[in-house]
Amino acid sequence: MAEVIWGLATSHVPSIGAAMDRGKTDDPNWKALFDGYAPARAWLAEHQPDVAIVVYNDHANGIDLDFVPTFGLGTAERYEVADEGFGRRPVPDVIGHPELSLHLVESLIDEEFDLTVFQELAVDHGFTVPLSVWTPDPGDAWPCPVIPLLVNVIQYPQPTAARCYALGQALGRAIRSYPEDITVGVLGTGGMSHQLAGARAGFINPDFDHMWMETIETDPGQLAAMSREELIRKAGSEGIELIMWLVMRGAMDDRVTKVHSDYFVPASNTAAGIALFDNRNGQPA
């Protein structure tokens, strides 16, 4: 039986990756952000899982608008890092875990989630920035195989928050029913509040973000009840990405232990949040 040992929620703003790739993490505009990551990174380095699952969205790099899947799951042995326009990030390609992927596909489709199954997929900053937040210096390889779980957040109508939370809960069951005894980390990415276009561009809502950060731990079902309109109004048109945190949270137990969280404005135009939860019941953080 596989076990989810931790869940990591983190923004995936491209400039966070760029700051790391260009050695600017001590720059005054960035230092506080990366200092805020340090305790989570230290804990994660001590708690390496056998496989990780990254819940993310693509931003015009791996897929186009000719088809937009609501939920996609990768089953490949390898995922190339996308060139988003100016050379790919200097980070390793991603090694997948097809056996677990195929188990998840069967379980989730049996549970009536209508996945699109990807055998080829290039992953963009939405995927690699969270890996860098977790593992700043991967060397030649990321610490373990990683499986992409794509969510449509850029073309309305996105899946509802409730559907994302339900997907997470089914994902948790699917992981627990995997026959091998392996440990799994789940990353929910995107957010926090931000809006890129329109007269409301630059909108940030710290009150909402703090409420979200607290409630994702204690009462995720309450967040799952929010409508798209409410999310876009309160978190900005791109803040709706936060629904991907609910997939991560759904895969964990009802009670989790917060290891660390931090909040920083702005990473580019975005309120950057990080929250790390320990899912090993009764374990001290």
Binding site: D64, L65, Q155, P157, L196, A197, G198, P206, P266
Partner: protein, 139 residues
């Protein structure tokens, strides 16, 4: 920081009016373009053009003759004009997704803060200062 700039004549007819046409509960929030199915239909060819700019060879071809490149992708005359004029707001109004439009901005060496300065009418410096001060708030 308030959104008083909302009262300025901001062009969002394209996106907003299309959004409410089918009226199936889609959000209609001031100053907040929703990239919905209608927008995506209108913008498909133009967004494909933007996505193609990830490739260096395509960027070169585009820069050599922008109008020809637009015609090759079959974008509308209005969209071609918006692209050639770097009318960022018009691109959004005409079905551009911000993530796609941003590919063109990147090629021009423009940042997301520059675009924020355009969309809000604040200009890049004020927009950046507002972000550094903790971001903008509603009303």
């Amino acid at each position: 920081m308030t959104l008083s700039s909302l009262s300025a004549p901001v062009r969002e007819r394209g996106t907003t009016s299309m959004s409410t046409e089918s009226g199936a509960g889609r959000p209609d929030l001031p100053g907040t373009p929703i990239f919905d199915g209608d927008s995506s239909r209108r913008g498909l060819r133009m967004n494909k053009l933007f996505m193609s700019l990830r490739d260096a060879g395509n960027r070169e071809r585009f820069l050599a003759d922008e109008a020809a490149y637009c015609r090759e992708f079959g974008v509308s005359a209005e969209q071609e004009k918006a692209v050639l004029d770097r009318d960022w707001q018009a691109m959004i109004d005409l079905g551009g997704s911000i993530f796609y439009v941003y590919k063109l901005a990147m090629m021009d060496g423009r940042s997301m803060q520059y675009l924020g300065g355009v969309f809000t009418g604040m200009g890049e410096d004020d927009f950046l200062a507002a972000m550094r001060a903790g971001g903008r708030r509603d009303g």
